[in-house]
Symmetry: C2
Subunit: 376 residues, 2 copies
């Protein structure tokens, strides 16, 4: 059914289309690649590929354009990733190393560099820290009536927020309260901490009852919020660089959906959960179909997922592609890196980029851990 030549054709058609953004026809294809078969032969194969659902026509007598299914086959079976150049790799690494210097977090920088390199929109989700545990909690009085609550998780993640507190509590009382809570809850999983647990831990505080409750509530919320997932979005300005968004309506719907950040984040999060279940089935095997397939990185390449077109059911994003990879911090915790662009995307390049950013990010995290832990 799907012989080697057809596979090669499909791959080539997709790559040509990605490059030119024009439907590709039989004639052009043969000349462009100096094929030793005639356009007519190509036409026959194309007709077959179309019947199998890998290609589509934009109108009755136009060239072919890949369908969702075509892209899917390409990604799953045909693609040959090309390694990034040394310069690019070094650039990405140095970009992330600088992150410690600046106020921006490593994760934020990862989103920035990915978007910059790919010229698409990037989106990085932090892990949900629910299964992580509490290491420290501090309450600093900023001024009478306001305090900064700092929560440190076992992975060294720091989150803080400014809260209102009753304005007649002394610095000393707050410090004592915080250490009581810390002692009581240290090592507990975030998910297992409740307002009741917090209150219990604070037993013995010298702060009078009603005032205490307010502070405890804020502490509780801070701990809970520390477990929430954050999201960094970068590169919206690249949107109009891609002809598929020159249709204003489309671009508008896209932006509107993207603006509802939590919707997109929730969507990605859910996916990740699903994906982890089916993981066993999806062991993608790159069956090579020509001898250009020298460089395979199956070993050290982080797993990536691609969602194409209709597979995405967010309004206004049904002719986009999402490329996502999962990065890990320590054992349990994982977050996601995501690249959003039109379906017509140079996957060989973008996948390499997202994979490398993933590797570099993970590397930096480890390096940080190593630096901090002293041993190992």
């Amino acid at each position: 059914m799907m012989d080697e030549r057809k596979k090669w054709l499909l791959k080539t058609i997709i790559e040509d289309y990605v490059e030119t953004a024009e439907p590709v026809g039989s004639k052009v294809l043969t000349t462009r690649h100096k094929l030793d078969i005639s356009p007519a032969t190509v036409r026959n194969d194309m007709a077959d590929l179309e019947e199998m659902g890998y290609l589509e026509k934009t109108h009755a007598s136009s060239g072919r354009v890949p369908s969702d299914k075509g892209y899917r086959a390409y990604i799953d079976n045909l693609i040959v990733l090309e390694p990034l150049s040394k310069e690019i790799k070094d650039y990405i690494i140095s970009f992330l190393s600088d992150a410690m210097m600046e106020a921006k977090s490593l994760i934020e920088q990862a989103a920035a560099v990915l978007s910059e390199q790919s010229n698409y929109i990037s989106l990085v989700l932090t892990p949900r820290y629910g299964s992580s545990s509490l290491r420290q909690i501090k309450i600093l009085q900023i001024e009478p009536g306001r305090a900064l609550i700092v929560v440190v998780l076992s992975e060294g993640i720091v989150k803080d927020r400014v809260v209102r507190i009753p304005n007649i509590i002394s610095d000393q009382q707050l410090v004592e309260l915080a250490s009581a809570i810390e002692r009581g809850l240290q090592g507990k999983r975030l998910d297992d901490i409740t307002l009741v647990t917090v209150t219990a831990a604070a037993d013995g505080s010298t702060i009078p009852e009603p005032l205490l409750n307010q502070v405890l509530y804020e502490a509780y919320v801070s701990i809970k919020q520390a477990g929430h997932l954050d999201m960094y979005l970068q590169g919206i300005h690249t949107l109009l660089d891609h002809p598929e968004f020159h249709d204003i309506e489309k671009a508008q719907r896209f932006l509107t959906t993207l603006h509802k950040e939590h919707v997109v984040a929730a969507y990605l999060d859910e996916w990740q959960a699903q994906e982890r279940e089916n993981y066993q089935d999806n062991v993608a095997i790159n069956f090579s179909d020509d001898n250009r397939t020298e460089s395979k990185h199956t070993a050290d390449r982080p797993a990536f997922m691609v969602r194409i077109g209709q597979e995405i059911d967010l309004d206004g994003m049904d002719d986009c592609s999402f490329i996502t990879t999962t990065y890990r911090i320590g054992g349990e915790l994982s977050g996601q890196i995501c690249l959003i662009g039109p379906r017509r995307m140079p996957y060989t390049r973008t996948i390499s980029q997202i994979n490398f950013v993933n590797r570099a990010l993970t590397e930096q995290m480890k390096a940080r851990a190593r630096y901090c832990k002293t041993d190992e």
Copy 2:
């Protein structure tokens, strides 16, 4: 030269154009507003207004469109602001009151609500805190090798960052170091603090020399960064709602410039400085030209500035308008609220909105201060 009727005409033409986005012609104008003068008369006046530079034609036989100068005259002399409805006001206020509850800062929320209400892009700059003074500095060890440095300014502004430190310093040493610095620098203006001052304040620490220097440097940077201006941008997704950006090239250039956030921020910041100098001259007097001018708010209305079209020299923004107002925190410190949209903008509405957000923001700041200070 510019009699009452011409003024009224100019005002009406601008308001019609703003509403319809179509060049306005003499016929339409007379019927739409049931004028008791004929189209021919209107045409004569329009010709005059054009000659004076207030109106333009898009082509030889088209209706008129306001020029930069026309908008300027409108803003300076003709506009009659309309107060916001009670509902809207309440909504804005409640939106900002909630800010304390969420992680987002008041200022970030102000940007969000302004953009949401106006459906334009909003941008809020925090003050530069250089002239503000240091109230607290704390250094919390997160784990060996990493610390959180918290800086609190006299206005109750809190900023913090995670830094690397040598990993053999004890918690106790850090606490002592921080209080030494705090004692030494408390009440000093941020601008007056240098690495030398910080080092001097830390004299007597038990941390050995080379390690100490690293920490001091980070503390110094944290203090300096606390003085920097931050910027919150909201509402990019509204861009394509406005027909003037349906030209892809234009929208693209706009986004590219906006992406260089620091450029825009610097630009606004510079303006503010300039504007403050010429402040005396600019005392805009609304000379009323018809008796609809019942509701003037000259008294309690915060000053706003509008920059129109060519007056803005940022690439890709030369047919936009910037509306800015300055909000104050306490005495010296002031930040900016800015609304960016196309020149054709319902100024009566947007100016009221930005003014009200300014008032509400200032109010919230005061309320917070009052709550914290207890007295007053």
